[in-house]
Symmetry: C2
Subunit: 344 residues, 2 copies
DNA sequence: CTGAAAGCGCTTACAG
DNA sequence: CTGAAAGCGCTTACAG
């Protein structure tokens, strides 16, 4: 068997309480004692047994990471970065992440993540939109939640969201500065707040720049009540081309749709950026690899994941803390797809 | 607080031992007692606390799932299905999967998954090729391993692999039956055994069908010491076209390279399948969505993940069991990309 | 087939 | 600042 806290205590000549205190960093320990004990711990490479620790401290040491199956498969490049960020931060808390996908529409309690049925996590991070039934259920369990890229207005839950409206205003300004004014928008279902905010950001920015007639013109935006896929991007491009004269640019609600959009434009004989400018949102890692490279709004995904983990652990340690919403800043990344040629 | 085993014992009028036995299904319990206790458990929706259980039984209840960062990012569609399979099976053992990526080349112990440093898993599943240093280290820890899509000859480790050679013979036969004989091969680094086996399968099948002169002709295959990406597929297509007269078909080592290959062929004005046939391997979920749809070798990924989990749990319960290698059968899926038009 | 009891390896008031 | 001791909620020989 491995060493236990008793062994370490005996070797160091102190009590197990003292060893425990040294490890956890809690309480007051004289510097000399701490050093003495720490030396023994290091020497024997001692690590406390998780399950014993958990049992005694009434913590599981696990955090649930929940995402809808549809989001994960549709925007894997986006959400997997958030998972990575959360995992990186989890290491600082000596916590493990338990990943679970859930159906978009929860029908039965059977669809809940199984770590919820046991008492196997101390809290959960939920990424993207998810059934209100699930959130309700977790709340009733009294379990802390941190939301990423989602919000439930009216509920007291920590959340981390990116500044979608601001991102859209950056794009619109970038285009208008190039004297591009006939700007279409391809979006998706408002079920996801980010999608809605991006569309609203488009409208607000257009109106602010005196292009309100365009942003309110039905022909200028193609929205579908579906998940944002490359297909939606293709359909949107086709549709806008059909209904709008003199279309100069298409703002896509995210990079995935932008890629579908560019492919469709090219297969219809329209060159990007020569004939039409295209932009995305999220700046997923393949955005720089498309041809032409895709202009996008950079979203710090890793940081969002880390932030969620921090918020959650903070909430677990201080249950009475007031919940907050963090708005993560974004920035424009100009690439080939949105640079108008021969501007001079 | 929640109910404990003591509460259940008191309510049912038995001892905690009996309740424990009912839950675990171990030992002999009279049917009537079992029913009585089970009823109370169901009624109060009792679930034993993991950490207590783990502490008492000296099990962590966790399994580590290790994959190299490069594999995961290159073949995400393939390996994520294996993860899903393992997760599905994990539920049957009431076990959680702890996911960790590792660098392809481990340099320092710091690169090891952190669940290895603690004693936080009962065993690990390793997917794809991984540094021998890591495997050595785990073996020294005395921790059971199950390998998926990888093998270390000479070591006693359970492994699950697909029948790569047989898959390749199916492809070659399928092509030759259509009177296609000028068949090239695009592959990757032999660091990964599957890649090597597929190439060898190609050679063996070609020779068996009397086309040995082709399979041994360097001009007929493009192999690079790199991860198999779409780029490799493009390069391979270009290269084979350049060096081989009358090229009729290209067998790609997996679907990813096949997609790069098809794109390149089309951009060079060659039609698939009219001018050249193309095949892949793995049958990832987007293989059916390419244009033309891609013929491939179907690999039961979910089943492989489940199988690995079973092998591993079996090994954990019976440490003296002899390790085995399971060869998973594969089958050809004929789609448009390999059907020669106007055969009649 | 079932119960009493020890023990798993920690944490945490409590006392000093 | 440190130690003795109780207790976390289970499992598992052991006895009967």
């Amino acid at each position: 068997m491995s060493f236990t806290i008793k062994d370490i205590a005996k070797i160091s000549g102190v009590s197990t309480s003292t060893v425990s205190l040294v490890i956890s960093g809690k309480g007051y320990i004289s510097e000399s004692t701490r050093e003495k004990v720490q030396k023994v711990i290091d020497e024997y490479n001692y690590r406390p047994l998780r399950s014993a620790r958990q049992l005694a401290a009434n913590r599981t040491g696990n955090i649930g990471f929940i995402i809808s199956d549809v989001h994960l498969s549709r925007s894997e490049a986006f959400y997997s970065r958030i998972l990575l960020g959360a995992e990186l931060e989890a290491r600082n808390y000596d916590t493990y992440l338990l990943l679970s996908t859930v159906p978009v529409h929860i029908n039965a309690p059977d669809d809940f993540p199984r770590f919820l049925k046991g008492r196997d996590v101390d809290g959960v991070i939920i990424v993207g939109s998810v059934s209100p039934i699930l959130i309700d259920h977790i709340l009733k369990l009294g379990m802390p939640i941190a939301l990423v890229d989602y919000r439930v207005p009216g509920l007291e839950i920590d959340s981390i969201i990116m500044d979608n409206r601001y991102g859209l205003s950056l794009i619109v300004e970038h285009l208008v500065h190039q004297n591009v004014t006939h700007i279409g928008f391809v979006g998706g279902s408002f079920y996801h707040p980010s999608i809605k905010e991006r569309f609203e950001g488009y409208q607000t920015a257009m109106e602010r720049l005196g292009l309100g007639d365009i942003s309110r013109n039905k022909n200028y935006h193609y929205l579908v009540e579906e998940e944002t896929t490359t297909d939606i991007g293709s359909l949107g491009a086709e549709q806008l081309l059909k209904t709008v004269n003199n279309l100069q640019a298409i703002i896509c609600v995210n990079d995935t749709t932008a890629i579908g959009c560019m492919n469709k434009l090219q297969s219809l004989g329209k060159k990007v950026p020569d004939d039409i400018l295209v932009t995305g949102f999220d700046d997923v890692n393949y955005a720089a690899l498309t041809n032409p490279s895709l202009s996008s709004i950079h979203v710090p995904k890793i940081e969002m994941g880390m932030g969620a983990m921090k918020l959650l652990m903070d909430k677990i340690e201080n249950p009475d803390k007031i919940s907050q919403t963090q708005l993560i800043p974004v920035k424009l990344v100009e690439r080939m797809s949105s640079i108008r040629p021969n501007r001079e």
